[in-house]
């Protein structure tokens, strides 16, 4: 008998329902002569033991109520989910033995959140840039400065605006703008959520997440607005079209 035949018989003997194939003298002789098959035999025996433990180890559940509750709410669409602990909360429990997955209904929920974030970002963009030019006074009073949504001005003691520095840092799809005075004191911070789609679709902003990638230093609030504007332009700038002559 060849090794392949013997190994097939091993699996039949260990894993398949009765009747088991006979383990005759030829079998024993082969195992004593062939270390490879003997080693395979030991490995498969370990697997057989493991299967027994694994098969018995299954948590009990009763999801009938949850299914009926969803059914009772006429939830025959993919988008509805039963509220339960979020996946990250499970990570600390004993059951967190694998990564969290996203079911189609959860995906729908995430898409909705991403869309809302995108909408919020657009509102911010429009609000920032839809100001009449005469409202953008670089050495303005706090009243004018406060028109920049989400960014509070540093305290201005006189008509002269302080030197300010803006650092935009990107982490994932959220971007943080820090406004510092010349001493490096953070006067204000604002977070802007920009949808991931802007990045991937335009492919122009490939900043490393977590690394400051845009900075503006200058006097007054104009550089702040300019920096924010540059950043948003980067996102909104369409990807350069392929040159047909190249193809």
């Amino acid at each position: 008998m060849s090794c392949d035949q013997i190994q097939e018989q091993m699996q039949q003997w260990l894993f398949e329902p009765q009747p088991r194939p006979a383990r005759d003298a030829e079998w024993s002789q082969h195992l004593s002569d062939c270390p490879e098959c003997l080693s395979e035999w030991h490995r498969l025996q370990t697997l057989a033991d493991a299967i027994q433990v694994w098969r018995a180890d299954l948590p009990r559940i009763d999801i009938a109520d949850r299914v009926m509750s969803r059914a009772g709410r006429s939830e025959w669409s993919e988008a509805t989910v039963i509220p339960r602990r979020p996946a990250w909360a499970d990570a600390s429990g004993a059951d967190a033995d694998a990564g969290s997955i996203t079911t189609p209904s959860r995906t729908s929920r995430l898409s909705l959140i991403a869309s809302l974030a995108g909408l919020a970002a657009l509102v911010v963009i429009v609000a920032v840039f839809d100001q009449p030019p005469n409202n953008h006074r670089p050495s303005g009073s706090a009243t004018n400065v406060a028109r920049v949504p989400g960014v509070k001005p540093p305290a201005v003691a006189s008509d002269t605006s302080p030197d300010v520095r803006v650092v935009m840092a990107g982490v994932g799809s959220a971007y943080l703008a820090l406004v510092q005075d010349t001493a490096g004191v953070v006067n204000s911070a604002t977070a802007m959520a920009l949808p991931v789609g802007f990045r991937s679709e335009n492919g122009t902003a490939d900043a490393v997440p977590g690394v400051p990638w845009l900075e503006g230093v200058g006097r007054g609030w104009e550089p702040i607005q300019k920096s924010v504007g540059n950043m948003i332009d980067t996102f909104l700038k369409p990807a350069p079209a392929d040159d047909p002559s190249q193809t």
Binding site: R43, L47, A50, A64, R66, M68, A71, G99, T107
Partner: protein
């Protein structure tokens, strides 16, 4: 009412629609066909009975395929809702169990594909966890053995894993597995053979060995 007659009405069986559910109490242990018929008629008692009958099997399948309890619970709910939606399309001349198992396998495939596209911090932690080896001298060795097998399963090709789980965990016959996976029985046998061999090798590589 025949199944064909009830099809239009039962396409979306809404629990609570029929006011006389309580009057239509189920007989003891109706067979699957009878149960499905009552579900199609909008009987919520029958729907619950169907869930209770198959939740263990489907949960075991999903849990072993995705390896995460709460994800498996979500998936089983999804499986039942999909099943209820498509119940009118079930061929009553065929057994119900492989039909449900097929929906479950498809749901798990989708979930696993989503997971592979979206690596999470939990995945990373799981990977770190994977590095633990079982302690041969500890009293928990038996439990470790099962856990090691579950971890090793994650590294198997998807079709091998599905086959292995259905055969060794769900104890489905080869013919039923073949019908769920739309493959000939011979292919299933080969996949099972290879799955066991790969798993046995992986257990050995991870230092799992039962001395005899």
């Amino acid at each position: 009412m025949s199944r064909t007659e009830s099809r239009g009405k039962a396409a979306s069986p809404i629990v609570g629609q029929s006011a006389d559910d309580s009057l239509r109490a189920l007989p003891l242990a109706p067979d699957d066909r009878e149960l499905v018929q009552q579900c199609l008629d909008g009987n919520s008692v029958a729907m619950r009975a169907l869930v209770e009958r198959y939740q263990g099997l489907l949960f075991g399948l999903c849990y072993r395929l995705v390896g995460h309890r709460h994800d498996a619970e979500d998936l089983v709910q999804e499986v039942f809702l999909r099943a209820f939606r498509s119940l009118a399309g079930w061929d009553a001349s065929r057994p119900l169990r492989p039909w449900l198992a097929k929906i479950a396998v498809n749901c798990c495939r989708t979930a696993l594909a989503n997971r592979s596209r979206r690596q999470t911090p939990v995945d990373f932690l799981d990977h770190v966890e994977d590095e633990r080896l079982p302690h041969a001298n500890s009293n928990d060795f038996a439990n470790d053995l099962g856990e090691e097998l579950q971890r090793a399963l994650k590294n198997l090709r998807e079709e091998y894993r599905t086959c292995f789980v259905m055969y060794h965990h769900q104890e489905l016959p080869l013919a039923e597995i073949a019908s769920v996976l739309d493959r000939p029985e011979g292919t299933i046998k080969i996949w099972l053979f290879r799955a066991r061999r790969e798993l046995a090798e992986q257990l050995q590589q991870r230092g799992v060995c039962v001395r005899r």
